[in-house]
């Protein structure tokens, strides 16, 4: 399924690469001992290093390095045992040193790959060019005062991983799938919380268009897009803009642009006159970052099971369909919940209930799996009652609703409300006979060949038994009489 933009003179292909800035989960900052936690009173999570005071020296945080290595391993990427830090120079009020410490020529992580899956079930590999460590900047607030901007440096110096993809993405859908997959991997690894609303994951989007078979044309970079939906929209409108320029005989300027979701357009952010020249050079305060192969192996040995592997295992071990396995592994907490429910039980039945009624209930009540009103063990307890024949599937739905409301265990609800399914064939036969007696006309129709009425009779019998009849036995009894 190729995504093409229909231009006046024929179709155009889309070329997209993404740079994702992912905030590293750590206690303290990349180069200082100040807290890296979100929130906090303004300028309290700031050391003199972060504030750029003269003579302050950066000292790297081992855990931030470990997080970058874990992420690299999760992206099946090359880990560079020696990497370096450079200064990226620019002036901005929330960058006290006048430079960002980043990795330019020698990043800690090299080439890797991420497999994405599209709506039609097809998969594609998106190449990772590199991942490097760098510092976040502070925050500027422009709406507090008519003449001044206010600066909070709490975020200044927090570790970021910049994850750069190859220009392998060919549609907005692929961009969305890539970001979702990347976020899933980061969350599994525990290296970034992936929360785009709070800004702990942000994307710069490089977009160009070309005719089939052409080399790349000039790209534009859309900065700091903060939701997956906006990334997809930004790509779409930017591609259309570029096609129009080329088709009108113009040429696209390489520039930084901004996506305005309210007007669904991109706008030039910096004039070419002011184009940034970062004048990178090796940071003289920092020696090369050298890590041991044994340490990398140790980190690799302690990685959690990642989504792709878990999904495959769910298919193999539990015999559930690929799609269901994908839904269940989307979040680690969901996968854990499912495994608790499925342990020692029918794994398909467990999958159907977790994905079906249980997810629906979470949606309806606005809860998440973390504060679920029904625990995995409680849901499992209910499945046990289905499996051992105490209740049928229909009654189970009522019991489930009751569990949701009262928090009671399934067995207690079944006892209290007398919901045990009736397997006494005498009682079932009696109910069948009563229904037939009450509907002589339908019975006549059925006997004259209207087979479809069988379902009607089943329904009537179940209704007469308040839903508690064993469906298999009811069917059997009806077949016998009819």
């Amino acid at each position: 399924m190729t995504y093409l933009i229909e231009g006046r003179d024929g179709p155009w292909e889309l070329v997209v690469g993404l740079e994702v800035h992912a905030q590293v989960i750590s206690q303290s900052k990349l180069f200082s001992g100040a807290s890296a936690s979100y929130g906090g009173e303004p300028n309290t999570h700031v050391s003199l290093v972060d504030a750029g005071f003269p003579g302050m020296l950066p000292v790297i945080n081992r855990e931030c390095v470990a997080q970058a290595v874990r992420t690299g391993l999760g992206l099946k990427a090359r880990v560079n045992l020696e990497s370096r830090f450079d200064r990226k120079n620019y002036f901005y009020a929330d960058l006290p040193t006048g430079y960002q410490i980043s990795q330019f020529t020698h990043p800690i992580i090299g080439e890797g790959a991420v497999e994405i899956e599209l709506a039609d079930g097809s998969t594609r590999m998106i190449g990772i060019t590199r991942l490097h460590l760098e510092q976040d900047a502070g925050k500027s607030m422009h709406d507090q005062d008519p003449a001044r901007s206010f600066i909070d440096l709490n975020r200044a110096g927090v570790a970021l991983m910049e994850i750069v993809s190859e220009p392998d993405i060919r549609s907005p859908e692929e961009a969305g799938a890539y970001l979702r997959k990347l976020r899933m991997i980061l969350r599994y690894l525990g290296t970034c919380d992936g929360n785009m609303e709070e800004g702990s994951m942000r994307a710069d989007v490089n977009v160009s268009v070309r005719k089939a078979g052409e080399p790349f044309r000039t790209r534009c970079e859309i900065k700091n897009v903060n939701s997956i939906r906006y990334v997809m929209q930004a790509i779409e409108v930017e591609a259309v803009r570029q096609v129009e320029i080329w088709e009108n005989g113009g040429s696209v300027d390489q520039e930084t642009r901004l996506f305005d979701p309210a007007r669904s357009e991109t706008r030039s952010l910096r004039s070419k006159e002011d184009a940034h020249d970062y004048r990178y050079f090796p940071d003289p305060d920092l020696l090369p970052l050298v890590i041991e192969e044994a340490w990398v192996q140790d980190l690799a040995g302690k990685l959690p099971e990642l989504p792709d592997a878990k999904r495959q295992r769910f298919q193999d071990e539990y015999g559930i369909p690929r799609y269901d396995a994908g839904v269940l592994v989307a979040e680690q907490a969901t996968a854990d919940f499912y495994e608790t429910v499925a342990r020692g039980r029918d794994p398909r039945l467990a999958a159907n209930w977790v994905i079906g009624d249980f997810f629906a209930a979470l949606n309806r009540t606005g809860r998440t799996i973390q504060d679920s009103p029904i625990s995995a063990d409680a849901l499992g307890g209910m499945l046990d009652l289905i499996t051992d024949g105490t209740i049928n599937g229909k009654i189970a739905k009522d019991v489930f609703e009751e569990m949701l409301e009262t928090g009671e265990a399934a067995a207690e609800i079944v006892e209290r409300k007398g919901l045990r399914q009736v397997t006494d064939t005498g009682a079932i036969d009696a109910a069948v006979q009563a229904v037939l007696d009450k509907n002589p006309d339908k019975l006549a129709e059925y006997r004259s060949g209207k087979d479809k009425l069988f379902g009607f009779f089943v329904g009537q019998v179940m209704k007469a038994m308040a839903g508690k009849g064993n469906p298999a036995l009811v069917n059997e009894a009806l077949k016998k009489v009819l």
């Binding site: 206690q27 001992g33 300028n43 700031v46 003199l48 901007s149 020249d277 090369p288």
Partner: protein, 95 residues
């Protein structure tokens, strides 16, 4: 390598240093002098020599991930010319 006046002007702008047009020729001459001096290093044959990044311990020391600093807002803001409450302030910057 020799810098033309436009490059000198550009370097000044990137460094946010305001210079008078009349100072350009002198600056150009000084910068070119410095570059010429540095370029003497190109005469050294470094084929097959690994780049040297420092003397002695040649790898970065790492620290443990614990919070040992921060909570010193008064010190952090002590040099701020125009602090407002807990914030630094600067003349409004809006791109």
């Amino acid at each position: 390598m020799s810098l033309d006046p436009a490059t000198v002007r550009r370097i000044a702008r990137l460094a946010r240093i305001g210079i008078d047009e009349s100072d350009l020729p002198a600056l150009q001459r000084e910068l070119n002098g410095i570059l010429g001096w540095i370029e003497q290093l190109n005469e050294v044959d470094i084929d097959g020599v690994e780049p040297m990044v420092g003397t002695g311990h040649a790898a970065l020391r790492m620290r443990e991930d614990v919070v040992t600093d921060g909570g010193v807002r008064d010190a952090v803001l002590s040099n701020a010319p125009d602090a407002a409450g807990p914030y630094y302030t600067v003349p409004k910057v809006v791109e």
